[in-house]
């Protein structure tokens, strides 16, 4: 039953990614540029331009180009794009984990002692974070921790081997930046989920049985509140990409955002299509994983 559900969802996801690829192909095809002439260079002769166009298959009709691209895909044509995506995925996963932990911590502070100084501080922190663009958060962190205190490097891990050796150190500020911007979007949902859980019968029962506040929160409230949080996290993935692009630029990190901007500015449409498709795969898979986790975590939900 779950296998059937998974197969159907995977098929849907693959279809969605194909549609995105088709759209991007169509968009590039409509652009008023002679890509072959640009890529062949300013001093290329007409014959060289024609050769470039032929080598890239730009003379073929669009449907054939698309099929060719699909054929390349099967023979590892997206290896470069996938390689470019790795740093972004690391950033995304680490920041999601840190952001979720911070959002839950903030919510616990707010819920355990409503109306207290901590509650109001946490609410204010979430509210202030909401008004801070990601590059502004990142800059403040760089300014204090890298420039004034000299504790951490001012960039993320770049292609420089020195930064790759000290990878964890270089990842601290980018991960923290992305985590802080995710808190702004998550903490409201987390808090609402916890409050709803608080009002439920099972929490009253557990409290009546004498469960400690700590056990009550960890075992009874958190577990049930996690369900809506999983959905929010899966759905907020595309939004996270908005911030990832700014953060990669700010911290001079390689990745999907930097790669996409570079490819677009260089008119390297082939790489740009691959990168957009990788981004689509990541977001579609993200919501798929969230849905599957949701189904696995809550036996009441029917597979549809």
């Amino acid at each position: 039953m779950i296998a059937q559900y998974l197969a159907r969802r995977l098929l849907e996801a693959a279809l969605a990614v194909l549609v995105v690829a088709l759209l991007v192909f169509g968009l590039f095809h409509l652009m008023p540029y002679n890509v072959a002439a640009i890529l062949a260079g300013p001093r290329a002769t007409a014959a060289q331009v024609a050769a470039t166009a032929a080598a890239l298959g730009l003379n073929l009709p669009l449907p054939l180009q698309f099929l060719r691209w699909l054929g390349d895909l099967a023979s590892g044509g997206m290896a470069l794009a996938v390689q470019m995506a790795m740093p972004t995925l690391e950033l995304l996963l680490l920041a999601s984990a840190v952001g979720l932990a911070l959002a839950l911590g903030l919510a616990e502070l707010q819920v355990r002692a409503p109306g207290s100084v901590w509650d109001r501080l946490a609410a204010t922190a979430a509210y202030v974070l909401y008004t801070l663009p990601s590059f502004w958060v990142g800059f403040i962190l760089i300014y204090f921790f890298a420039i004034e205190l000299l504790w951490l490097p001012a960039t993320g891990p770049t292609l420089d081997p020195a930064s790759q050796r000290a990878w964890p150190l270089y990842m601290v500020l980018p991960v923290l930046t992305l985590a802080l911007t995710t808190i702004a979007t998550w903490s409201g949902g987390v808090r609402a989920a916890i409050e709803e859980s608080l009002r439920s019968d099972y929490v009253r029962t557990a409290r009546a049985k004498g469960a400690s506040e700590r056990r009550l929160f960890r075992r009874h409230i958190l577990r049930n509140a996690l369900l809506p949080v999983i959905t929010t996290a899966g759905m907020s993935l595309p939004g996270l990409f908005n911030n990832i692009i700014a953060i990669e630029y700010l911290f001079a990190m390689p990745g999907l955002g930097a790669g996409l901007i570079g490819a677009l500015i260089a008119f390297d449409f082939g790489t740009a299509v691959d990168l957009v498709v990788v981004i689509a795969v990541v977001t579609v898979l993200g919501s798929l994983v969230a849905d599957v986790c949701y189904v696995l975590a809550d036996p009441r939900i029917q597979y549809r």
């Binding site: 969605a16 652009m31 801070l132 590059f135 800059f139 759905m235 908005n242 630029y249 955002g257």
Partner: protein
């Protein structure tokens, strides 16, 4: 507008929306609004930003908008002549800050208005138009939501270098789903309530039913979601501008931020903080304003005040 604002809140939807005390309702609304601290703080902040950005340049125009580079005046610290110092091009930072606010504020409100209009129309159609329309429109919003907003914007930006108006339109086309969802949810909840049924039974035409009876009761949700949409479009435009695409010149807060960042490495920190703080103030003001309006519109609305 004032008539619309006085309509029955969700807590007592059985009040006929054309009650004779509409005028007294408007007065009550204004009195409640006057008591909202969030409304005054947010409104004051927004008014300040508007005066600063649109009237300020008329009074304080110090080499603003010039692109000539004055090396000798690069990164001067704050002084009487240059209250916020000078930037990477040797321009007065305060004058640049004033001009730099125009594009983000205008483009932000324009994109919000377009996205809200699309979202409200589609949301009402989905909530009121039956199952087929509902499922089609929600699918469409799922598709838009699943694409990172910056991707289509960056593609169009890099390839066509569109003007501000095209950019605003594209941003709006990526930003409407939250509004459509909020409006749809509330429409579904309201459509079978007695006052809606009475309107239908009374033979009111569809357009009038939606405009006079449904829309006023959606206003508080529209305001809350509208503030979120505003924050979203301002941030998305700021991010695309920050990475070198997005809003075209003249310089605005986001491109100033990107251009002046390098000054910090040389110890000139003062040039980067003003644009960053300005963005925060803009988002804060609109958020507080909508919070105040919402509480005044519908005192029964849940949630906490922010200020």
């Amino acid at each position: 507008m004032t008539r619309g604002l006085s309509k029955a809140p969700a807590s007592s939807p059985e009040l006929p929306p054309d009650a004779p005390d509409a005028r007294r309702g408007a007065l009550r609304f204004l009195r409640r609004l006057g008591r909202q601290r969030a409304f005054w703080v947010g409104g004051g902040l927004l008014a300040f930003l508007l005066v600063f950005s649109f009237l300020g340049p008329l009074i304080f125009a110090y080499h603003a908008g010039e692109t000539e580079i004055r090396v000798a005046q690069q990164f001067l610290p704050p002084s009487l002549a240059h209250p916020l110092g000078t930037n990477v091009l040797g321009q007065d930072e305060l004058a640049q800050m004033m001009i730099g606010g125009q594009a983000p504020i205008l483009a932000g409100f324009e994109a919000t208005a377009i996205a809200a209009a699309i979202g409200i129309l589609l949301g009402m159609a989905a909530g009121y138009g039956g199952a087929a329309a509902d499922s089609l429109l929600m699918r469409a919003s799922d598709v838009v939501l699943s694409v990172p907003q910056v991707v289509p914007i960056l593609l169009l930006d890099a390839l066509l270098q569109p003007g501000t108006q095209v950019l605003v339109l594209v941003v709006a086309l990526t930003a409407w789903p939250p509004m459509a969802r909020a409006v749809r949810a509330r429409t579904l909840a309201l459509r079978s309530l007695p006052f809606m049924e009475a309107a239908r039974a009374g033979g009111a035409p569809l357009g009038r039913t939606l405009r006079r009876h449904l829309l006023p009761n959606l206003l508080d949700d529209i305001l809350v979601t509208g503030a979120q949409v505003f924050a979203n479009v301002v941030l998305v435009m700021a991010i695309t501008t920050f990475v070198g695409l997005g809003l075209p010149p003249p310089w605005n807060w986001a491109s100033m931020f990107a251009g002046d960042m390098n000054g910090v490495l040389g110890g000139q920190w003062w040039v980067v903080f003003p644009p960053g703080i300005a963005f925060s103030l803009l988002l804060l003001s609109v958020s507080l304003l909508s919070e105040g309006l919402r509480h005044a519109l519908n005192p029964a609305y849940g949630g906490q005040a922010a200020a």
